[in-house]
């Protein structure tokens, strides 16, 4: 019999429904795998075995009666950014020490309503700010992938590094994640997993710790495209508690899997061919084009002229929103408090002790660009550029393009404590060069593993779709997956 933890969500779902296995067995197998691996991978910051076993037992009862939801008995990992009632929710920041919300985020409530089991909370960059999971208060996550013949620890990407690593290492069947500039798709690409950032407004942001509210979206990271479709269906909803939640019914995404892409128009944007991009990424991209052409799609060259301005505009808009959102961490209502001789000093000392260097940098940038005299030069200009970025996409979609194919990242996973990136924050930011445009325009984007580089590390391709057309991404992503195959790291950690 195959190892229980190697089953995809779809496979486990069948075995649970047919009573070949129980959720309790599956959950115990995952808890044992976490126990054996977490010291080395550091993917989980809190494991919740009591909750998991209780939920699994309840799922087994429902399954025995022939009942159960779409994710009945499936053990998942939850990114630490999602509010989970009575459970560790700290956005992996020191400033939220001890915080356990008295409410449940809409996304996790949706998952639990569909029968999902929570194994624990997953590591991430502090407040989702980072591309390597190294800004976490709980320390970096180690990528389950290593270069051939090399034991050097690599980053899993970020900010959803714990989510991606735990899925790749089979420490959960699937994981929730969030994406503000690439935080689902970049770690998925670095770990050989599938990650989708849906259209802005598709998943409720209610109860998710806010970073940049006009960019943040939740989505799943999974082992394959079908599992991503299954999980997104459960995560997404129309929610009155989030005023930006879209009033559009959630389709059955899984029905798109296996549908033909014959006649579909796939755009290839020339602006994504950036200077210094490794030949292997260029080759992978060309390979992706061939796969889609072989499957009957029409390939067209397109132009998205404002692409290069997306990242600089992002580094005004996102820090500005973050500086406002993070103003709430003041040592009064929750989390850490450092005493001072007056209230201002208390605020300043609390925030100095509670925020890490990357978060401070972004709060400072945001405060500066919003401060008197600079608003027009920075923030207003960035929001205008954002309009132009969105218009670029609207133009190509209007011209009949169904989806856009690009590389997911400009490189494979890099080493923990990379000196170049530590010395220059902008170098780290460049990781999101292919993903950030999608957040700026509010569009859906999926990263699908497409191959291994010469050193044996996974590389991914990204598909960008029209607003609320996640179905085309699942359909097309599945074609890439069928051609490329799936990738699993060698198990070296236990």
């Amino acid at each position: 019999m195959t190892e229980l933890t190697s089953l995809t969500i779809a496979e486990a779902r069948e075995k649970l429904r047919s009573r070949d296995i129980t959720s309790t067995e599956l959950t115990d197998a995952y808890l044992a795998a976490i126990e054996a691996a977490n010291d080395q991978l550091n993917a989980y910051v809190a494991v919740t075995p009591d909750i998991a076993r209780k939920q699994a037992a309840a799922s087994d009862e429902r399954l025995a009666r022939g009942e159960g939801g779409a994710l009945e008995g499936i053990p998942l990992g939850i990114k630490d950014l999602f509010g989970t009632e009575g459970v560790h929710t700290q956005a992996c920041s020191h400033i939220l020490d001890g915080f356990q919300p008295r409410y449940e985020s809409t996304v996790t409530a949706n998952l639990f309503a569909d029968g999902a089991v929570m194994l624990g909370k997953l590591n991430m960059d502090e407040f989702a700010m980072g591309s390597s999971n190294e800004t976490s208060w709980y320390g970096p996550v180690t990528n389950p992938w290593r270069r051939k013949g090399d034991n050097k620890a690599l980053v899993p990407g970020g900010s959803s590094g714990g989510s991606a690593a735990s899925v790749a290492a089979h420490l959960c069947a699937g994981a929730t994640a969030t994406d503000t500039g690439g935080s689902i798709r970049q770690p998925a690409a670095f770990t050989g997993t599938v990650g989708i950032k849906p259209t802005y407004g598709r998943c409720s942001r209610w109860g998710v710790v806010a970073f940049a509210s006009s960019l943040d979206q939740a989505g799943p990271i999974t082992r394959d495209v079908r599992d991503a479709a299954i999980m997104l269906k459960s995560m997404a909803s129309v929610d009155a508690k989030d005023t930006t939640s879209a009033d559009i019914p959630v389709p059955d995404y899984e029905a798109s899997i296996g549908q033909s892409i014959k006649g579909m128009k796939i755009g290839i944007p020339k602006e994504y061919r950036v200077e210094g991009m490794p030949q292997e990424i260029e080759d992978l991209w060309r390979q992706g084009v061939e796969w889609l052409r072989d499957a009957g799609a029409e390939i067209v060259d397109i132009t998205l002229p404002h692409t290069k301005y997306a990242l600089p505009a992002y580094y005004i808009v996102a820090p500005a929103e973050a500086s406002s959102n993070l103003a709430r961490y003041d040592g009064v209502r929750y989390g850490l408090r450092e005493e001072g001789k007056n209230i201002i000093e208390m605020y300043e000392k609390t925030r100095a002790a509670g925020f890490g260097p990357e978060v401070k940098r972004r709060v400072m940038i945001g405060t500066y660009v919003l401060s008197a005299g600079y608003y027009d030069a920075y923030y207003l200009r960035a929001q205008k550029v954002r309009t132009l970025i969105k218009r670029d996409f609207e133009t190509v979609f209007h011209d009949g393009v169904d989806a856009i194919l690009t590389p997911a990242t400009p490189s494979a996973a890099f080493g923990v404590a990379d000196q170049d990136m530590a010395a220059d924050p902008v170098k780290m930011y460049l990781n999101d060069i292919f993903t950030v445009t999608v957040n700026m325009a509010g569009l859906p984007g999926i990263a699908v593993p497409a191959g291994l580089d010469g050193q044996g590390l996974p590389l991914g391709l990204q598909l960008i779709g029209k607003p609320f057309d996640e179905e085309t991404l699942f359909r097309t992503g599945h074609v890439i997956e069928q051609a490329a195959g799936r990738f699993t790291p060698e198990k070296w950690w236990s």
Partner: protein, 95 residues
């Protein structure tokens, strides 16, 4: 545009983050690297372009202005570092 040490300290105070002289000096370099990076936005012709205020073309949802929730004072202060009888406690602000 770039920031000097005095500006870094002023912004840190606005952001309510205590910084030492050493930290402020380090931040000066980092913030200037980021501000240098975003400078390229000045190349873009934004004449007549509306700033983005809503990412999806939809009306902000409105709700009835009625009480739908409440009586949760204990829940609200449950995570406070210091509270007393459902009040948050802070250092004295009025002499």
């Amino acid at each position: 545009m770039s920031v000097d040490l005095a500006t870094v300290k002023r912004v840190a105070h606005l952001a309510r983050i205590a910084v030492t002289d050493e930290e402020a000096a380090k931040m000066e370099g980092e913030l200037n690297a980021i501000l240098g990076f975003v400078e390229q936005l000045n190349e873009v012709d934004i004449d007549g372009v509306e700033p983005m205020t809503s990412i999806t073309p939809m009306q902000m949802k409105k709700r009835q202005d009625v009480v739908t929730d409440g009586d949760k004072a204990a829940d609200i202060v449950a995570n406070a570092p210091l509270s007393d009888e459902n009040f948050f406690l802070v250092p004295k602000v009025v002499e």
